[in-house]
Symmetry: C2
Subunit: 375 residues, 2 copies
Amino acid sequence: VTDTWLSIPDASPFSVDNLPWGVFSGGGRGPRVGVAIGDHVLDLAGALDDDVFARPSLNAFMARGPAAWTRTREQIQDLLTGTSHHDIVVAQLSPIADATLHLPIEVADYVDFFSSIHHAENLGRIFRPGGEALSPNWRHLPAGYHGRAGTIVVSGTPIVRPSGQRQLAPAEPPTYGPSLRLDIEAEIGFIVGRGSTLGQPVPTDAFADHVFGVVVINDWSARDIQAWESAPLGPFLGKSFATSMSPWVVPLDALAGARVQPPAQDPPPLPYRPPFAGMYWTPAQQLAHLTANGASVRTGDVFASGTVSGLQRSEWGSLIELTENGVSSVKLADGSVRTFLDDGDTVAISASAPALHGGRLGFGEVTGTILPPFG
Amino acid sequence: VTDTWLSIPDASPFSVDNLPWGVFSGGGRGPRVGVAIGDHVLDLAGALDDDVFARPSLNAFMARGPAAWTRTREQIQDLLTGTSHHDIVVAQLSPIADATLHLPIEVADYVDFFSSIHHAENLGRIFRPGGEALSPNWRHLPAGYHGRAGTIVVSGTPIVRPSGQRQLAPAEPPTYGPSLRLDIEAEIGFIVGRGSTLGQPVPTDAFADHVFGVVVINDWSARDIQAWESAPLGPFLGKSFATSMSPWVVPLDALAGARVQPPAQDPPPLPYRPPFAGMYWTPAQQLAHLTANGASVRTGDVFASGTVSGLQRSEWGSLIELTENGVSSVKLADGSVRTFLDDGDTVAISASAPALHGGRLGFGEVTGTILPPFG
């Protein structure tokens, strides 16, 4: 772990080796860009004397591209490790606990993938018992769909239980009402900092030219609405009511120590995507696939992994898997049980990764509390 | 038709009763907002002395809401019908032929519906011969999916033929290469001018509080890529490479004379959406459905009708219908034939509607030329 003169609590996810980017307000000033360091946020417009950080989103800074991201990160690390800048830094620090954290980016397009083979097989077994767990295309491409960018909210935003059409019993006509099967999906999201050109695919080895950083996503899912609407056009209102994002964007550079070889892929990927831990499809393959038809990406695009589930039950990332679609239940720490979410439930999801210079990097939490339906 | 002192060619789609909004550049000045009148575009920042029009998109003006849209439209009609403002107007007119037309809005989210029962039945018969033409949910809700906002382009933008995975024969492994079944979808698009609140559905009778205007959309579709990828998450790369939009946004107010009762709907829609000529699902129902789960809309959102097909073959809006998925062919005016699109083909789609004070309103064209694949 890299040393700093600043006091950082031992349990802090935000070391000098992490320095996640975010947008905060407080102290009588509006939303602006900062980095988290220990229990504090460093105001970058002040510390670096650059107005690109005096804005309510990271987009303008992200658009500068990867050389600027790396250089700025090094400047901040210098400020925090060299003692000569002590006074400048201290003047721009404030406690995270006193700040309001905002959605760190203006979201352009949002794509959600479906790249955990364990999650896909778990769902296939639930919905197609006795049949093939995976659809015929699943091992050939990272399946995905476009989600609703305008309803991505920052961690802590309350989630109103969605209403919609759902079948209360098979073969019965649908009724309209609050979702009775409200679920979570624990995912990792990738944020595009620099866009690409329409008509020109982005190859897997250009991933770091475009991807700025990584967040934790909770892709709230109304399973009953989703089940009724999905054929033939895929998920729509069962997902579009809200997607929660953690407030701190972990830089791709900080994750150099977390890279692993992906699992063996059978059949081998087609040549347009030359070859994550346990996820079948890697984010580089997702980005390559997303642009393989010439579709461009923009500053502020988000693409998420899909539910991150492992082989073991303890590694499953959604209630639909953990409860076999509501057949069994999950016991919580307080002794209560759930099949799906109740009104008033608060869900918190976090993540961590190995750091390059030892220890672990944290992502901060993505949280949300379920409110009763509208009306 | 409302009279004006300005000379408007008889065949012009852009009468004083229309006044579609757009964004243009030319004469050494950057993109700014104008309205089309006959063969000319009126520079609104100059004519109305309002800087909201000195911007490269309609979004800031749209965000002002429907009272401002109607009041501004009346001001422009006054300028064009009263002779006292003749000099002001003439100074701000320039020929459309000399202008570059830009995408009129910054697109926020893009949703594409599937609301023509004739189109849905035609496709059902092609893909599920002998089975039910419509999916079980089709008559219960306006089926739709999120498309890619960042690849919506203005009419005239060349379309690079997309590459992707497709099966050249059933049960064979997919190969990667240029789409061999590139198609069009003739659609009408609706632009959200004023947003809504997250968690609160927009009822059908609030349509005019949110929808600013109407455009023509060509939802380019690579049928082979779409067919292989679609299960279970719906259309993705088969659609996301490009969607073309006409440059002139016809105001909802101009279409008061074009309103009709929708066809009878069986079963009756569920009560959350109290009850387009021939389109089974109306745009008001689409907007209500889109927000029924509490999802909010934003300034700049676009939602499109899906392919507009009528009962008669002459009214079908895609090549996949007109050629029975490539089994038959379409004869063009020059005597050549097509199943799907060839490189170099130019597609132009237009639309018109009855005007309130007689005659018809035009939408202008949406055009695109197919370029060979990248690489």
